[in-house]
């Protein structure tokens, strides 16, 4: 499994907020794609409710995952492909390494794949002495910079053209330019050499279709088509949930994927890959491998509260509308998946306690659910995660996150049970607030544990008389 730094959410969030380049990029991203996706859903002939249909399709597929995966595997094998089922990240990485060794692979070109980030494929291949080149332009940029993606679809969103120009001067030896077409051309040239020299290409899987026995990949750049066409070996990595039964169902998923990911009607390239090159064909890989990865998904599958999360197709539409992601950026989430999808799936994959700030660090504003191409109720699952953190949960090995908070809510529940005691509590608090610094009738500083509020804003003090008291006084003569 790749590095996990979910504990640093608060720290990284602060850093993201202070990063002016990132702030500008996030505004641009959300202005463009957040609004564009909503509009793209509205323009669907079936309207935004197609997302509900897609949700049903995905739920049905998830409920029959065993059956669908076996059919897919049988069809791919019948077409001459290999299928490996990896229980853990390590097993998946080991399989890829074994394929690479058997084929004397020296250079791997990678199509963008979040699951490869999840399992930590690059460092493992590199440790084995294999050169790995990310080929999605954004991924390539951050690989050159030695960083990790900050957005599922736009991985280098945190870098501006000046950063990229400096990077390309240093790493590719080009003459400095900040012109995006010229920078793109420089990467195109460098990567073309890699594509043509690579021994193995890897890709993710956007969705597999059991009926036809194909996996599909979607890209705008063409890098995935290159990586799955030019090298001798193609290894596709697939989260075990990425499958639907039928082609007509897939049609709905693809249309929503393109809209959710980039507000597009259709991505430039969609490829349906069913196996290696066939006799008589002149191009395509000699070997095709599909690696189906569990890596903790089974636990999500087994829990009815979270099973819905497996409907996710990683389109990243939720990132483009999330007001929290829009301020803190993707690195704060400390794992391959950022934004609202990361806030739910990362704790489930990597441990709820250590990712507690991912579970609690959102406002439950609901924008992600409305933007979700699969209509997944992410806020509901954030609440379910918080419940586990509140009381602990044996099935998920969760410890209560804060005894103090638990006590506070227990006290609160006692207070609200009786209006008289409640009012007494309010009176005490109102008396207490007299001791706090005030300015123009606003509280300037609150004591712990609620000092966070007044870190950068004031607070209106408690009223001298509650509305209920006044009603009793004036109406119940």
């Amino acid at each position: 499994m790749s590095d996990i730094s979910t504990e640093k959410y608060v720290e990284e969030a602060k850093r993201g907020i202070a990063n002016t380049v990132l702030q500008k990029a996030l505004v641009g991203l959300q202005d463009r794609f957040g609004r564009g996706t909503a509009e793209a859903y509205r323009r669907l002939p079936e309207g935004p409710d197609l997302r509900l249909k897609a949700h049903e399709i995905r739920e049905k597929a998830i409920a029959h995952l065993d059956v669908l995966l076996e059919i897919l595997a049988a069809k791919i094998r019948a077409s001459g492909g290999y299928v490996y089922f990896a229980e853990t990240a390590q097993a998946a990485v080991d399989y890829c390494l074994a394929v690479a060794r058997r084929n004397n692979v020296r250079l791997v070109v990678k199509g963008k794949s979040m699951v490869s980030e999840e399992i930590g494929l690059n460092p493992a291949l590199e440790a084995a002495g294999i050169e790995v080149v990310e080929t999605d332009l954004g991924e390539y940029i951050i690989q050159l910079a030695g960083e990790t993606p900050s957005h599922i679809i736009a991985p280098a969103i945190h870098k501006n053209r000046q950063d990229i120009a400096d990077l390309f001067v240093q790493k590719l030896g080009i003459r400095r330019t900040t012109d995006p077409p010229a920078l793109t051309q420089a990467a195109r040239k460098a990567l073309r050499e890699k594509f043509l020299a690579a021994d193995m290409g890897t890709s993710g899987v956007n969705m597999a279709c059991a009926e036809t026995g194909h996996i599909t990949t979607v890209s705008n750049e063409g890098n995935i088509r290159m990586a799955t066409t030019m090298p001798r070996v193609h290894v596709a990595l697939m989260g075990m949930e990425r499958i639907v039964a039928r082609l007509d169902e897939y049609e709905i998923i693809l249309r929503l994927l393109c809209r959710g990911a980039a507000a597009q009607t259709m991505g430039t390239y969609a490829s349906y890959i069913g196996g290696p090159r066939r006799p008589g064909e002149s191009d395509g890989p000699d070997e095709f491998h599909l690696v189906v990865i569990d890596n903790g998904r089974r636990r999500i599958l087994a829990d009815p509260q979270f099973r819905e999360m497996l409907c996710c197709i990683r389109c990243a539409a939720c990132l483009n509308v999330c007001p929290v992601y829009g301020k803190i950026g993707g690195h704060s989430y400390g794992f391959a998946y950022s934004g609202p999808v990361g806030a739910v799936v990362t704790p489930l994959l990597t441990g709820i306690n250590r990712a507690k700030d991912l579970c609690c660090g959102e406002t439950l504003c609901g924008a992600c659910k409305d933007a979700c191409s699969m209509n997944i109720d992410l806020p509901r699952m954030l609440l379910a995660l918080r419940e586990k953190l509140a009381y602990g949960d044996a099935d998920w090995q969760v410890e209560p996150a804060s005894r103090a908070e638990g006590l506070a809510y227990r006290g609160w529940s006692w207070l609200i049970r009786n209006r008289r005691i409640y009012e007494l509590g309010l009176k005490l608090a109102a008396a207490g607030q007299q001791l706090l610094p005030q300015k123009k009738g606003m509280l300037r500083r609150l004591p712990p544990p609620v000092q966070g509020w007044t870190q950068s804003r004031d607070l209106h003090p408690l009223a001298e008389e509650t509305f209920m008291e006044r009603w009793r006084r004036t109406r119940k003569g």
Binding site: V10, I17, P323, C360, S413, L426, H460
Partner: protein
Amino acid sequence: MGTQKITLFIQCLVDTVWPHVAEAMVRVLEDLGLTLDCPTDQTCCGQPAFNSGFQREARVAARRFIEIFENAGTIVSPSGSCVHMVRHHYAELFKDEPQWRERAERIAARTYELTEFLVDVLKVEEVGASYPGRVTYHDSCHLLRGIRVKEQPRRLLRRVKGLDLVEMKNSDYCCGFGGAFAVKYPDISAAMVNDKVDHIVNSGADTVVGCDTGCLLNIAGAVSRRGLSIKTMHIAEVLAQRL
């Protein structure tokens, strides 16, 4: 319609921090000829605990709410967030207690947020209010995406004499309140509310109006800290203004 009795469900923040919002709501409803009732032993619907994951404690509050409001007729609240809690989350809280769930659902069916009650139930848009000023409207998350109230407050505001309604950028973006979130994650929350205040300022409005006191306390707190002269008002206050 005139003799209909309405029961007030007052958000705890309104009750304890901004009671003038409830007073204003009372004036608006009584001016429409409605008779009001207010169970004064109400405290909180349970949302603060629920949002933090403390569902057992939230259930205590929810049961109490149900007992208090069970015999009420139409229930009206000056908070979209509280209505969202009762309408949608009570069912979730009592998913394993069918009897409570049924009681909760019966109450939920007759609980309304103020502006949806005025516009959708009473079919009233003109309440005789007058407010001279340039106003921008903030869409609260639970009101907008929880109970899908978007146009009702705007329609009411457009009928207020002297009021010039202008839209701000990203009016539907969260202000960064989020209950305990604002306290637990002050840096993120501050970044969000400062964006919100920037958008309010850039809209050219002198007043920001909303339908949820949580958001408004957050926005007012940031406005105050930044020393701005923007007024932060609940829609009930605007609707209660007379010449």
